[in-house]
């Protein structure tokens, strides 16, 4: 499958994401420039971590107006896959492609650590290869990762199983103590109603080798290929189920 990684001015994890996809996962990945008005026909667009446009004003608030974001929105509306990581998640919220907002961490400081997250649903392109309830070790590094939304939104997300990852302790319990940034419902990642757009605060691209701490992030990238394969297989199977004339 083909991935595209958007480079905004101030993106920091673009190189690591490209390398993880190309060299570790083994898929094709191309950089997408923020001034481009197309996503060049990729299957999945990644909005990487960093400080797009310096994160001045508000994280992701300026990036959502960059030319490439129109193409990303169109790609998402057409059912294409979109993964926002950290600053990318913030941009997706600012662009209205995901609900809620990401605000200052409860502790008011930038926080870098490896945390435990629980997979809440395998029905997304990036958790399709995981089992619900499975625990992953992934790095986080953010100053504004506290996800907030109104009660109705949280209830809807819970009901529709759209919370993708939750912060937990090492035993998989989503306790307040295991919540690093004060996110509502311990949310570490969520998806849109159509399930093709996912935002994550943890960084799978920094967790692709045991040598550098964890390789659990690989599962998320590899899931996408399987998800597309399922969709494609489903598409082929469907006609066979239609009764003949």
């Amino acid at each position: 499958m083909r991935w595209g990684v958007v480079i905004f001015p101030g993106s920091n994890d673009d190189r690591d994401t490209l390398r993880a996809i190309e060299q570790v996962v083994g898929d094709e990945a191309l950089p997408l420039w923020h001034k481009d008005r197309t996503v060049h026909g990729v299957d999945c667009v990644v909005l990487p971590g960093g400080f797009s446009y310096g994160d001045y004003l508000r994280c992701g608030a300026i990036a959502r107006f960059s030319p490439v974001m129109e193409a990303v929105s169109a790609h998402a509306r057409a059912g294409g896959l979109v993964l926002g990581i950290c600053n990318g998640f913030q941009i997706l919220c600012e662009a209205g492609l995901l609900p809620g907002a990401l605000v200052r961490n409860r502790g008011l400081r930038f926080l870098c650590d490896i945390v435990t997250v629980r997979v809440e649903t395998s029905e997304t392109p990036f958790t399709y290869g995981c089992k619900a309830g499975e625990l992953l070790q992934l790095p986080i590094k953010h100053g504004e990762g506290c996800w907030v939304a109104d009660d109705a939104t949280v209830a809807a997300l819970e009901a529709e199983h759209r919370i993708v990852l939750r912060y937990t302790d090492r035993l998989g319990r989503a306790t307040a103590a295991a919540n690093p940034n004060g996110s509502l419902a311990n949310v570490a990642g969520l998806c849109n109603a159509e399930r093709n757009v996912v935002g994550l605060m943890p960084h799978p691209e920094h967790a692709v080798e045991r040598l550098t701490g964890s390789e659990d992030g690989l599962r998320l990238f590899r899931s996408a290929r399987a998800w597309l394969g399922r969709a494609a297989a489903g598409a082929r199977r469907e006609p066979a189920l239609v009764p003949g004339p």
Binding site: N12, D16, A20, G54, D55, Y56, R109, F110, G213
Partner: protein, 735 residues
């Protein structure tokens, strides 16, 4: 016509009456105000190294591994595979004391530019930061500000901060230390230097616009002692914009992959003036600048202000004639300006024009090679003899040694630094193999099995008691920290933080510090390839302890040889390499438990140190070791506990040695010791290697259970110790 300067204006630029006379003699005329400003910064201690230059020459700077020694923006060493590691450490002490957040942030920004200006992509940052004691009301504010500033800048630029040191000592109460280190990688044949050449070549200005910030940062803030008016110097502190730096970094690296550039230099201390003059000086060229073409942030700036502004995130470069448009196009992609503001000439002069009038016409030599060099008077501090006296008979052995260990582990200089480094992005780049908390940080060289070990160390207490030995031991500790992760020490960058050089005691401390670094670096074959001198660390007459911070870069030939400090398996044998002597002088134990800073620092035999390195590196190559950890501040008991704090939290059971006092055995800081653990079946082979090198090798006990058990004097559960060690700093800071 420029206004003629006077001796009074010269004094305002930080020039002495003698220096002013020397300028008049060199020029054969009265300098203009602008010219005096230029002399003021170029002859400042910060830019000219006038008090240190004579002594810096003693440092070893060559070796087969050296690609670039001192004199460029940063030094460089060969790390194999055609790659060079480019690195340097630099101080930002006074700005950080005056305004901790921006001072520390711009310190990081400056050192990053020194590295990427050579074409190297920065791969890691380390910081050595030192403050007064935590009982002082301003300390917590300064710590939070400095750590926040480092985090803000490094995180936003996207370079991981992977290590460093944090020290509290009453000697820094009125003059904190902020030293920032950056290392980057570049193909050795693509290193770009800062030597202007080629008359007619255009001089281009790139990056942020010039404003009125930071004027006199180099001359009046960095080259003078602080007094009670320190807060009034806030306007001399620059304000950093890491986003602008990130764009500049990407644009410069893209540019330096082409052949459009002859020379490039960061506009750091003394801004446009020093970058233009230093590039011209190195290349033996002249340079002419049209100041009215400099992009400005505000209207109405004078040529004097434009010359001396220290606005951040700017670079000056010499392009090949005809490449101007190509350079501008690369910068335009990142929405940055690149404009021609002058050209290289053949007349050896620095000229600056303002709307057609020449406001500066100075021979480059007069500003660089003709700058004054001082051999300032030096004599031994009188208090030293008295401070070195320590009668151990007057030091009582604590009754509760377990409680003493706990006190040590919770003390500000030994407790966990987690509160600090959790604020730093340690992951970006995807090559961080050993994060902060080990002996040295380890960063992989991308695409290879090799890695760099990085450490930044200094023991100011040893230096205070013996400036020579303190410097030797700082180098040795940095090297040993590299060895403890399995890396061979390669080279050094030094940041020499001292007091006011016009005081003979300070000059004496400095000279002995240089001699110590020289001797240790010669013995360990780790040349000094870059560095920085920071004098005038004096506030209201009080000078800091000598603080020669040593950044050591080591090379790990194969990541399979990586060693970490933490116990791995129950039943592994614990072995101490090196000899424990009855040494408590200058120790953390003496300071924390007995409230004394006195005695002589531990004894060191540099040849024995070398052999110790040999044993550990040989054993690492043969994969004999499960863990290795330097025995440093806090001594053996603290080291044993630290090894239990990572990984699964295994404990130890070790015996007491009877030939020294029990507190010297537990907390003494005898040098040339490394604590290792290994499988029992490898013990004989390991002992054979140690014997061959003549390194004492003592089986202390084994990895066992979940408690630290030392003889019958200490028995404490690991979990409890670790929790208190982890939380101590956050609690002391009231964070």
């Amino acid at each position: 016509m420029a206004i003629a300067g006077t001796a009074a204006i010269a004094a305002e630029q930080g020039l002495t009456a003698e220096e002013y006379e020397r300028i008049r003699a060199l020029l054969g005329r009265e300098p203009s105000v602008e010219e005096l400003g230029v002399f003021g910064v170029m002859w400042s201690e910060h830019c000219s190294y006038k008090s240190s230059r004579l002594f810096l020459r003693q440092l070893p700077t060559t070796g087969p591994q050296v690609v670039q020694g001192p004199g460029e923006n940063a030094g460089a060493v060969d790390v194999g595979g055609g790659l060079a590691a480019v690195f340097k450490v630099e101080s930002h002490n006074h700005p950080s004391f005056v305004e901790p957040f921006q001072g520390a942030a711009t310190g990081v920004g400056g050192i990053l530019r020194d590295v990427f200006t050579m074409g190297a992509r920065p791969i890691a940052i380390l910081d050595s930061i030192r403050f007064g004691t935590l009982d002082q009301p301003r300390t917590a504010y300064l710590v939070k500000g400095v750590v926040g500033g480092i985090a803000h800048y490094g995180n936003c630029v996207g370079v991981p901060t992977v290590g460093g040191e944090l020290v509290f000592d009453p000697g820094y109460e009125r003059n904190i230390i902020v030293n920032a280190f950056t290392i980057g990688l570049v193909p050795a044949d693509r290193i770009v230097r800062a030597r202007a050449a080629g008359p007619g070549n255009p001089v281009m200005y790139v990056g942020s616009r010039t404003g009125r910030d930071g004027i006199h940062g180099a001359s009046l803030l960095a080259s003078a002692a602080l007094d009670a008016s320190a807060p009034d110097k806030r306007p001399a502190v620059q304000v950093g914009d890491p986003f602008a730096e990130k764009l500049l970094l990407e644009a410069c690296l893209a540019l330096l992959r082409t052949d459009h550039v002859v020379a490039i230099q960061d506009m750091g201390a003394a801004g446009l003036t020093s970058s233009a003059i230093e590039m011209a000086g190195r290349g033996g060229a002249g340079i002419v600048l049209d100041l009215d073409r400099v992009p400005l942030r505000e209207e109405g700036m004078t040529p004097y202000e434009i010359l001396l502004s220290e606005s951040q995130e700017r670079m000056l470069l010499v392009a090949r004639a005809g490449a101007e448009a190509a350079v501008a196009e690369i910068f335009a992609r990142w929405d940055l300006e690149a404009v021609v503001i002058g050209q290289i000439t053949g007349d050896g002069c620095f000229r600056a024009r303002w709307h057609g009038n020449e406001v500066c016409a100075l021979p480059v030599d007069a500003l660089t090679t003709e700058a004054p060099v001082y051999r300032r008077p030096a004599h031994e501090p009188e208090r030293l003899d008295e401070m070195q006296r320590l009668d151990l008979a007057t030091v009582p052995i604590p009754a509760d040694l377990g409680g003493t260990l706990l006190t040590m582990l919770e003390s500000p200089n030994l407790c966990s630094r987690e509160w600090v480094y959790r604020q730093y992005d340690q992951f970006v780049g995807g090559n961080t193999v050993l994060r902060p908390g080990g002996d040295a940080a380890v960063v992989r060289i991308e695409g290879t099995r090799r890695a760099l070990a990085l450490t930044l160390d200094c023991n100011q207490r040893y230096s205070q008691l013996d400036p020579y030995l303190g410097a030797v031991l700082s180098v040795v500790e940095a090297a040993r920290n590299c060895v403890a992760v399995g890396a061979r020490p390669l080279a050094v960058s030094d940041c020499l933080n001292y007091g006011n050089p016009e005081r003979p005691e300070v000059m004496w401390e400095f000279q002995h510090g240089i001699a110590g670094i020289r001797d240790a670096c010669l013995a360990l074959e780790t040349p000094v390839v870059s560095g920085n001198v920071s004098f005038y660390n004096e506030t209201e007459g009080r000078n800091i302890p000598p603080t020669p911070a040593i950044a050591m870069v080591g090379l790990l030939e194969d990541l399979d040889q990586l060693l970490t400090p933490w116990w791995k398996n129950e039943g592994d044998v614990i072995v101490l390499l090196g000899r424990t002597r009855e040494e408590l002088g200058g120790s953390e134990y003496l300071a924390v438990v007995h409230g004394q800073v006195r005695g002589t620092p531990p004894w060191i035999d540099l040849e024995a140190e070398r052999r110790l390195h040999q044993v550990v590196l040989t054993a690492a190559r043969e994969r004999l070791l499960r863990s290795a950890h330097d025995v440093g501040a806090g001594g053996l008991a603290v080291a044993l506990a630290e090894c239990a704090f990572g990984g699964v939290g295994l404990g130890v059971r070790v015996r007491l040695e009877e030939d020294v006092r029990v507190d010297a055995f537990l907390f003494g800081e005898s040098q040339s010791r490394i604590l290792v653990s290994l499988r029992r079946r490898h013990l004989r082979r390991f002992e054979e290697i140690a014997r061959r090198e003549g390194v004492p090798c003592t089986v202390l006990g084994e990895v066992r259970g979940h408690a630290i058990v030392i003889g019958d004097v200490i028995n404490l559960p690991v979990d409890d110790l670790r929790e208190r060690w982890r939380r101590a700093l956050e609690r002391s800071l009231g964070a």
